[in-house]
């Protein structure tokens, strides 16, 4: 059987496919992913001006340039209208997918990676390794979230849009996976195949990485999905507070701008950004639950 055929036949995939809502969520996520890839390949994420020809606008700026019709109402021409600088809202909503996905992917990846290593070492070795690591994450999780982010935003205020956010989220989001991985590993290390692996002559650390950690991957996949949207949602909040993305369009930025417009009855930007955000987050939530059901070994 080919690898693809075997994968299709596997229990997890079959279970997932039986859930209609799960498939719908996958389609939605796929659509967003295509938009993301489009923004990457058309360089819509480069907001910098071409330094050799400063008069020339970047492709992004051209794509969302001032149409001269500030605050136009939604119509056939501009589906959601334009913002106060005359930029087409619909286009900006689409381009924001870029920032959303970048934040989501990088953060989830960094946090899951650090969480896996830290949780793995703490759970497997116990003793003072565990003490040190749990002390670290207890301290981190006790610092008020906003204070931590303020601190990091201040450190990174000179650099371009996203690095500060990556660091801020990476540093606070790894704790969730670490806790869960630690617990799972404390359970797994007592199982016989771990003993058997040591009995055949492997060193303990090799056993941790070759045998034990692969058995926690189902948890990591679920966490990855959760942190992806956690990061996107957090970005919205941070940008709202003025600490987030600068220089690139993002839903957080749009919602933040829109809060002034709403009082004048202009709803295009608020609706567009909120709806785009909501649909993605909702799809991911459904996806995460379905993923968890499919990967749960107890539902054999």
């Amino acid at each position: 059987m080919s690898v693809l055929a075997k994968w299709r036949e596997s229990r997890a995939v079959r279970k997932f496919m039986r859930d209609k809502a799960a498939i719908a969520s996958l389609v939605v996520i796929g659509a967003y992913t295509l938009i993301f890839l489009w923004t990457v390949f058309t360089n819509l994420d480069a907001d910098h001006v071409n330094s050799k020809k400063p008069q020339e606008l970047s492709w992004l700026q051209q794509y969302t340039k001032d149409t001269g019709e500030a605050h136009a109402s939604p119509s056939g021409k501009y589906w959601l209208g334009t913002d106060r600088l005359g930029r087409d809202i619909t286009k900006r909503v689409l381009v924001s997918v870029n920032v959303a996905f970048k934040i989501g992917l990088v953060t989830a990846f960094i946090a899951c990676f650090i969480g896996l290593i830290m949780g793995g070492l703490a759970g497997y070795f116990g003793g003072w390794v565990d003490l040190v690591i749990t002390w670290i994450y207890s301290v981190f999780s006790s610092i008020p979230y906003i204070v931590l982010l303020l601190l990091i935003a201040a450190i990174f205020r000179e650099s371009d849009g996203l690095t500060g956010l990556y660091v801020a989220f990476g540093v606070s989001f790894w704790i969730g996976p670490a806790r869960v991985v630690r617990g799972e590993i404390m359970k797994l290390k007592e199982l016989e195949y771990v003993q058997a692996a040591i009995a055949m002559g492997n060193s303990r650390i090799v056993v941790l990485f070759k045998h034990v950690i692969p058995n926690t991957m189902h948890l990591i996949f679920v966490y990855f999905s959760l942190l992806f949207i956690g990061a996107i949602k957090s970005e919205v909040i941070l940008t709202f507070l003025g600490l987030g993305v600068k220089g690139m369009p993002s839903w957080g930025l749009m919602i933040s701008d829109a809060k002034a417009e709403i009082t004048s009855g202009i709803w295009g930007q608020m609706l567009g950004a909120s709806l785009a955000l909501f649909v993605l987050v909702y799809a991911f939530n459904i996806f995460t639950d379905a993923l968890q059901d499919a990967l749960d070994p107890k539902h054999q």
């Binding site: 003793g127 199982l191 016989e192 195949y193 003993q195 058997a196 692996a197 040591i198 009995a199 055949m200 002559g201 492997n202 060193s203 045998h211 692969p214 058995n215 991957m217 070994p297």
Partner: protein, 327 residues
């Protein structure tokens, strides 16, 4: 010269209620190629003995505190961890009780089988390793071995998984195999197949086997010698025919009597023989003979004095002041 000599081995564990000595000074020999059974109730120290030999006792809370384990002329307890790793899986192998959990569920069979080869025979090329893996699968009589190699543990039955475990254990042709209740989790027909397999492999590869079990029937089938353990001590040992024909220690005698017999009459009212009382806790080891409370033949001296292991002329030994065998 014996392959393995265990002398006065003491293994202890720190618990909330104090230090517990799971092994209270056991000694035994295993000669090259022989199959020795180790029997006893749950908790008597059988598994701890095997794990002590492999130095698999987790260091907090356990510790091998006294004694010597001489394997192939060298004291295992004095070896570095690196030297130990070279022995585990290679010269001494172990198979475990539950085949359902002894294999890693997310790794393929060929990976797990080749792992031990990659560890101990690095000079083999990938193709050679694959060939050895295939040969081992055939030796343990797994049908369609090429296909099975590419499968995952959950696709195999319990009996097949145990065969794979045996294949992994014997892949590097160890001189000693520690089998910790290898058939307990299997149904009776599969049990018989596995025991036959082990007997054949013993002929083929010449491995000595320490077979830990609580099933005396298995011992009678397969073993050359047997040791009976109780509360962390060896209480009787000797050639299988001798021990079964003429057990000396009251505990051994009771064990033999408590085996359900297929020829027993089915009159109503006929009950199974049991041993009265319970095994004392290791936290409160009784003074004198540890079997005192449950023994029908104990006298005053059994309360105060701890019997030593006494050897007899026909190669058996027992730990009792008043052995009950026929002389």
């Amino acid at each position: 010269m014996s392959l393995l000599q265990v002398k006065d081995l003491v293994t202890e564990f720190k618990t909330d209620q104090g230090v517990v000595r799971a092994l209270r000074g056991i000694s035994f020999d295993i000669k090259a190629g022989e199959t020795v059974g180790l029997v006893g109730e749950s908790g008597c120290g059988k598994s701890v003995s095997a794990r002590s030999i492999m130095r698999l006792i987790p260091n907090p809370p356990g510790k091998i505190s006294e004694g010597e384990i001489i394997f192939d002329g060298k004291d295992v307890l004095k070896m570095s961890e690196k030297e130990m790793r070279a022995i585990r899986g290679n010269k001494i192998s172990m198979i475990f009780q539950d085949p359902m959990t002894s294999l890693n569920p997310v790794l393929r069979i060929d990976y797990q089988l080749e792992e031990v080869l990659a560890l101990h025979q690095p000079n083999l090329s990938k193709a050679e390793r694959r060939q050895v893996a295939l040969d081992m699968m055939k030796k343990v009589k797994i049908p369609s071995p090429e296909q099975r190699l590419r499968e995952y543990p959950h696709q195999l039955s319990g009996g097949m998984r145990q065969r794979v475990m045996i294949a992994i254990a014997l892949a590097c042709r160890p001189t000693l195999l520690l089998a910790d209740e290898p058939t307990t989790a299997l149904d009776v027909t599969v049990q018989a197949q596995i025991l036959n397999l082990m007997a054949e492999l013993r002929e083929d590869i010449g491995t000595a086997i320490l077979l830990i079990t609580h099933d005396l029937g298995v011992v009678a089938e397969v073993c050359d010698r047997v040791m009976v353990m109780y509360l962390g001590e060896v209480v009787e040992s000797g050639p299988v025919e001798q021990i079964f024909a003429n057990p000396q220690h009251p505990y051994t005698i009771s064990l033999m009597k408590s085996i359900p017999k297929i020829t027993a009459s089915r009159k109503s009212g006929e009950r199974l023989d049991t041993i009265r009382g319970v095994v004392p806790s290791l936290h409160n080891v009784p003074k004198g003979c540890s079997f005192r409370e449950r023994c029908d033949f104990a006298k005053e001296v059994c309360d105060t004095d701890h019997p030593e292991l006494k050897e007899t002329t026909n190669g058996t030994c027992y730990r009792c002041f008043f052995p009950q065998g026929q002389s």
